[in-house]
Symmetry: C2
DNA sequence: ATAGTCATTGACTTTTAGTCAATAATATTG
DNA sequence: CAATATTATTGACTAAAAGTCAATGACTAT
């Protein structure tokens, strides 16, 4: 990487850092592009070298933490199904909590924004998470942990809805409950019940 | 109601009708206030007699169908807990489906929009739904359908998350599954499992 | 009949997202 | 090393649309 590329990377990093700070503090609608560029110490136009729309910086901000989860899931081959799912749920909500309410709020709003093309990476995150969860369940069926007739498709949808629902509800409640608390309780008390009919002991 | 009041009511109705049609067809971001007022046959300024912000018309549009559910829940006193919950879930998702994806998308986006004051009716819908569900569960405990040590708070959160999550995921998936289908499957296959430990037979 | 109320209007203001031609700093080529 | 090409940066500018408001006039109340 040459000098120019390094400088460019550094500029983007500065924008993301400034954007994240302002976003956490004030929320997306209360800041404008110039606030971000001023804080980053660059001109307004520079923002648009790195992001097509004002909204895109939010997607970029949240991509890193959530991206890590996928890698971890790959490495969980040995674990039992319940533990795998518990880990996945906990890690997801950990990211939610560390991103903070303003970022999660805006992320959800962006993903629901039809102005984002359907092939937008973040609009597809949902489908990606569905696949990830489906794989976890399917491999449990293969390994003989779950019965052959387990309705994987249905369970996947229910679990993903629960996960995204917890995030959405947390934002809607203005952060009035602890996401990690509820997730842990959900996993320890409800996950087994939901899989009860399908688990082979 | 006098002539003037009637005319005003009619104007608002025209705006809501026009807004709903355009919203369903094109989505919130692809229409502007003037599109709505033109379709309704009034001037742009008139919009702001009835709605403080462009977004507010969406909240008004969706309020009617969802409002009906609360009234129905009042009248379900005789039913068993599972049937009550099933009815509630089905009705909720019926509203989701009949409002359509663009309205639900924008409604969720609005409720997550910090620009709406915390005392905004629609931002409080979530808390209201939590209360409604909590009441259903609590009255089942009182009636002896559920054990005294049922973790009502936790179950309420889990169920609400599932409900809102299904709506959110439906929107995120671009309507790739049938909300009513999934809800019915969820209710018939999972609801009992989730309450299993707490139901007294 | 008169005064008062209030929905309606559309031109106007304001805000801000997003553009773009000019510039300057770096990289490439011969 | 000089000449040329590339590309990140800049900030003034444009575009679009949300939201305002003083003037109007149709209706209501007394």
């Amino acid at each position: 990487m040459n000098k120019r590329q390094k400088a460019a990377q550094e500029t983007k990093r500065k924008l993301i850092t400034a954007g994240l700070e302002l976003l956490k503090e004030k929320g997306f609608d209360s800041i404008n592009v110039e606030d971000i560029t001023k804080k980053a110490g660059v001109a307004k136009g520079t923002f648009y070298t790195y992001f097509k729309r004002k909204e895109d910086i939010v997607l970029d901000i949240s991509r890193a933490p959530f991206g890590e989860i996928a890698d971890e899931v790959e490495k969980m081959d040995g674990l039992e199904i319940i533990d795998k799912l518990t880990h996945y749920f906990n890690r997801f909500m950990e990211c939610v909590e560390s991103c903070g309410i303003n970022v999660c709020r805006q992320w959800t709003r962006d993903v629901l924004d039809p102005a984002n093309a359907p092939d937008n990476k973040d609009r597809q995150k949902w489908a990606y998470d569905v696949d990830m969860l489906k794989n976890i369940l399917n491999s449990a069926v293969k390994k003989g942990e779950l019965k052959k007739d387990t309705p994987v498709e249905l369970l996947t949808h229910i679990l993903i809805s629960e996960l995204y629902g917890m995030m959405t509800c947390w934002c809607m409640s203005d952060g009035k409950f602890e996401p990690l608390d509820w997730t842990e309780k959900f996993c320890s008390l409800q996950l087994k019940a939901m899989l009860l009919h399908y688990i082979i002991k």
